[in-house]
Assembly symmetry: C2
Homo-oligomer: 323 residues x 2
């Protein structure tokens, strides 16, 4: 009989990540695939299938366990997916063989990863933004996650678009002058702003690529650009408000709060966020995430299989996840 | 030899309007067609051709002049189009026969219509927002018009989306409480906000339909909802800033300012806007638009044909345009 294998998958807007481990938390392989979101849109099923197949396949190959995903039966697998579509389970079940297969939203896996399976609140600011928490008893709560048109304040996309809007207002003489415009043209390698607008509406610059401009907003903020600093401060405000709303709904005060996602690569955002949390939730503790969301999904797979998250498992995961 | 006929077309995001008149400004017929925008998107050429063909055809039939657009040769025709794509001329030329055919943006026609061909500044707040002005000598200037992702602050779509974002923040406990959420579910006939989000991202509620929610924001503002009032005030602020930016660039102070477009059906917005203009441009005069943008396009057609805009023409247009 072969060893027991467990799988965690984190499917996101920009890419999908899979991690394969044994029952003692020793990570055997990791793999990456394309984006797994917008499964309800044309071609979405195929994109989802490809993202899961690619990432799990790459993890299995790195582990030297198999060349085909179908060769392995996992003891338990958990797939954490941004967004939601009912047929995801059907698509994933046709690819991944597991005695216990569960599929959930991305936020619970991000929380499990950030805290190592303990209660707490996680705020995710990637392309979108959402906060999610569990009180360790019976309750969970979420705030945000409404997507780029209706919300997602404080996300990387939001920061980037606020930056571009500020830049265009400066061009028009409708808002404060800022160096964000110069940075935008350089970042996207364009001549002028009409070209930028055409590229955005024609879809030649897609949402993920737009979101990368958040890096430039961060740089401008650090170099003292007032508009950029205001945007980062507002982003931190919205992300903190999401956390406060979740804490209130869970009736928790001395809670661990973890900040996850690409937007938090911005040092200014991390600092502003931590300050605001300290101000509004003085008993909360902002922690560095212990594991990434893919390992968080793996922890949920262990949970589904009834495997206790012993310190041995967690420290093995810590060692081998290279954190 | 038949009478001289002139054509003005105003192609917009929600519909297209055509007006046919003789050389003395007597309006012979008016017609409506579908939206003419996004000509660069798949099916855009066909949509543009249909919008122009329908609207001009309907105007000619109302005039009793022809049943087919191709039966008539106009002395001059001007088509004012929202957005811009170079092949519009080619498409329109294949439908409309005119000795002088000109195609331009929507803003100059809106200005010509609003002022009866005189210099001034027009601010258009429809699905999008833009301000445009001419100083009567050699200069014109524009601000805004960056589209729904990058700008369009103060437009109907912007007001509606700010309203929905406020509603969702209230739902999450992240923003002030507001009655906009209740109004949104009623307006779009939906059970809950997850359904709203799904309908928006799946495109079942498109941008024009989203923009109609601006009416509810106006109503809530009038009934004292603080969030709705703040949104209307901000919209007025942005629209006024567009006008100030254009006035500055034209170096004009005692200038006519006209507010055009569906968003200004909001009485609160009109009032707030007029107050802000009075405050920031004390020598400017906010005027009621004399003609609609389709007649504005007609005035540009007269201009292209060298027809002087006499008081006779203008008062004929006024009489028969039913204003």
């Amino acid at each position: 009989m072969g060893e027991r294998l467990f799988l965690g998958v984190d499917g996101g807007q920009s890419h999908t990540e899979a991690v394969v481990a044994d029952e003692r938390g020793r990570i055997r392989g990791r793999g990456r695939g394309g984006p797994a979101n917008h499964a309800e849109q044309p071609g979405g099923r195929e994109r989802l299938a490809r993202a899961v197949g690619e990432s799990v396949g790459a993890a299995l190959r790195e582990a030297g366990l198999a060349t085909e995903v179908s060769e392995v039966e996992f003891d338990a697998a958990h797939c954490a997916m941004t967004g939601g579509a009912d047929f995801k389970e059907e698509v994933i079940r046709s690819i991944v063989r597991a005695r216990r297969l569960s599929i959930g939203h991305d936020a619970p896996a991000a929380l499990a990863g950030a805290t190592g399976g303990e209660p707490g609140i996680v705020v995710i600011a990637g392309t979108g933004s959402v906060a999610y928490g569990e009180n360790g008893l019976d309750r969970s709560a979420q705030a945000g996650g409404w997507g780029y048109l209706l919300g997602d304040e404080g996300s990387g996309y939001w920061i980037a678009m606020e930056g571009l809007r500020c830049a265009l207002r400066a061009v028009d003489g409708v808002g404060d002058s800022t160096e964000l415009g110069t940075r935008a043209l350089r970042h996207f390698d364009l001549k002028d702003f009409r070209e930028l607008a055409r590229a955005v509406y024609a879809g030649r610059i897609d949402r993920d690529r737009l979101a990368t401009f958040a890096i430039e907003v961060e740089r401008a903020a650090r170099e003292g650009d007032a508009s950029a600093r205001r945007i980062i401060a507002e982003a931190a405000m919205w992300l903190c408000r999401l956390v406060i709303a979740v804490a209130k709904r869970l009736s928790v005060e001395s809670v661990k709060v973890a900040a996850v996602g690409g937007a938090f690569r911005s040092l200014s955002l991390r600092e502003e966020f931590a300050q605001r949390v300290a101000q509004h939730l003085p008993l909360a503790r902002v922690i560095a995430p212990r594991f990434d969301p893919a390992v968080g999904a793996l922890l949920l797979a262990y949970g589904a299989a009834g495997v206790d998250l012993t310190e041995e498992i967690l420290s093995n995961l810590e060692k081998e996840s290279g954190r």
